[in-house]
Symmetry: C2
Subunit: 334 residues, 2 copies
């Protein structure tokens, strides 16, 4: 900074004023200082800035998953990519951490906040009984819950209409004539799993479909295949299965193929997540398409709003759209 001041022929104070857009310098000086800083490749030290109360210019994101179940879904990296499109404009960095479980995630927040490493965090995979919002609230650490429903305790939320999406899937399958529908869900403790299950139950009631149910899994291809095999061995197997993500759905297709059960002639399949995976299996999967990039962008925008001192609120992203491909049809004899 001293160098910049010297080269521009002004004082250090003037440099600070000029570069932070504060009054006290003329437009011409401001411009000169700016160009000198540019030329010298000078950037303020984040450490020094953070120390003088500007915050760490960093937001945190923790992913709590055991390493082995990590990363088949394109979803996550796309989300991060969207987040960064927004953060980049503000010169905010993203501190990223993979941990084993939620307890470690909470510890991470405490450490980050105690060390002043982050100004705020994005919380993903909200759960039904979730200790994390309480932790953030008690710390006073600003946060946005990605996929949360309401904004409480000073946390913002980005709301995803799982219930509406599930209703649209149920209606679509019902319209095709399906009566026996099974929902192969993900982890039961995740909030969106419970929302989807509840929505399906109420839709089944509304449409008068008694043979509708949800089964939970750990999202792994292994459980997806195992559950599907069990379903197909039943005396009255379902005619349509809705899988909670692309991996489960692809595993389901593979299981059906093992049994030489034609999809969609004998079994319709819907994937709750559209990705290349859905176009890599045969037949191509009918899927709920959402836009993880947009979700990431909205989440990051909400977080920057919070950091700017705005009150917590709930933002929404568009309802997932059902993309009909080859894996759904009328039920046999329907």
């Amino acid at each position: 900074m001293k160098d910049v001041a010297e080269r521009a022929g002004v004082s250090e104070s003037a440099v600070s004023f000029a570069l932070n857009g504060r009054p006290g310098v003329s437009e011409s000086t401001r411009e000169r200082v700016r160009s000198v800083a540019e030329e010298l490749g000078w950037r303020p030290s984040t450490a020094a800035r953070a120390l003088s109360g500007e915050g760490a210019a960093t937001v945190g994101l923790v992913l709590a998953r055991p390493a082995r179940t990590l990363g088949v879904e394109p979803f996550f990296l796309q989300l991060v990519s969207g987040v960064q499109q927004v953060l980049a404009e503000r010169r905010l960095g993203l501190l990223f951490q993979v941990v084993e479980d939620v307890a470690a995630e909470c510890a991470m927040y405490e450490h980050w906040w105690a060390e002043h490493r982050v100004d705020g965090v994005l919380l993903v995979d909200p759960r039904a009984e979730d200790p994390r919002p309480d932790v953030l609230a008690s710390l006073g650490l600003p946060g946005v819950v990605v996929g949360g429903t309401e904004s409480r305790q000073g946390l913002s939320s980005v709301w995803i209409d799982d219930a509406g999406a599930m209703a649209s899937v149920a209606e679509y399958l019902h319209a095709l004539g399906h009566q026996r529908i099974t929902h192969v869900a993900g982890l039961p403790e995740l909030a969106h799993t419970q929302r989807r299950m509840a929505s399906l139950r109420s839709e089944a009631e509304r449409l008068d479909l008694p043979h509708v149910r949800s089964l939970t899994t750990d999202y792994s291809d292994a459980e997806g295949a195992a559950v599907t095999r069990r379903l197909l061995d039943e005396p009255d197997p379902p005619t349509a299965v809705v899988y909670d993500n692309d991996v489960l759905a692809a595993a389901g297709v593979a299981a059906a193929a093992e049994r030489r059960l034609p999809v969609p002639a004998r079994l319709s399949i819907v994937s709750w997540e559209d990705s290349v995976l859905c176009r890599m299996v045969h037949p191509w999967l009918t899927a709920l398409a959402r836009d993880p990039l947009a979700l990431g962008r909205v989440a990051a925008e909400e977080l920057t709003r919070l950091l700017d001192g705005a009150p917590a609120r709930t933002a929404g992203v568009p309802v997932p759209r059902l993309v009909v491909r080859e894996s759904t049809a009328h039920p046999p004899g329907g």
Copy 2:
């Protein structure tokens, strides 16, 4: 820190001495200070530490990929997970950034370094003509090239034996009786793509196989399928195809299925990357299994060595192992 000093009944200097393992305090005081700090949940502000010459306690990782081709492979998140297992021990954070291209990646390094945001970086996807090592060297920013071959310009490397792995695949297919082998490779500018292609060429010469070649793609399922279709339409199609990653291989299987070409009876398929994808397609894919977690761990260890002042060097990870499943067999009539 003041609070800790007060609660422990000692001076601030004593606290600093105690917690940084420096002489000047008795073991009993050291222990008392430690426990008070623990109790108060005190952690040193990284900003203040960084400012007084300790470094940012953060390493950087930039992923240069257009958002749409992002994240089908489990590889990347597993790598990150391995990296963090090592970084966590040292209380080092990971600053993660997704950018569009290598130019943006270089700019990122310059910014990070100018802002003192990172102490070192992990460089992934090394290229044949790669500007990035030069940038790091000119900045003096410590770095580890993940998948690099030699350590030059003060950068360490983690070496992956692509050539050896490719040779083992070629030998395996040759032993099965295959003569016409095609390698559907990834991006031509990546260093490992070139290494694999070169290795295949020399193996083909050694084994006297004239009908062997490599074709490059962008790693997308679309190109994987398109290339495979083109291959199968040739008058003398290959009897074995080696795909440079799991996505390409799965797309290849799908393309073969479209043509009703039985795998492996008429076409053998090998995937260069083992993942759940390889067990989600039918038939299950023979694949080269490497261990991204271990790769991440070794890379992070090399980086911490560099940060500790050790000279740059090249470390190695085990050669990928060929896991034989259902997608490879003798060629028709072989």
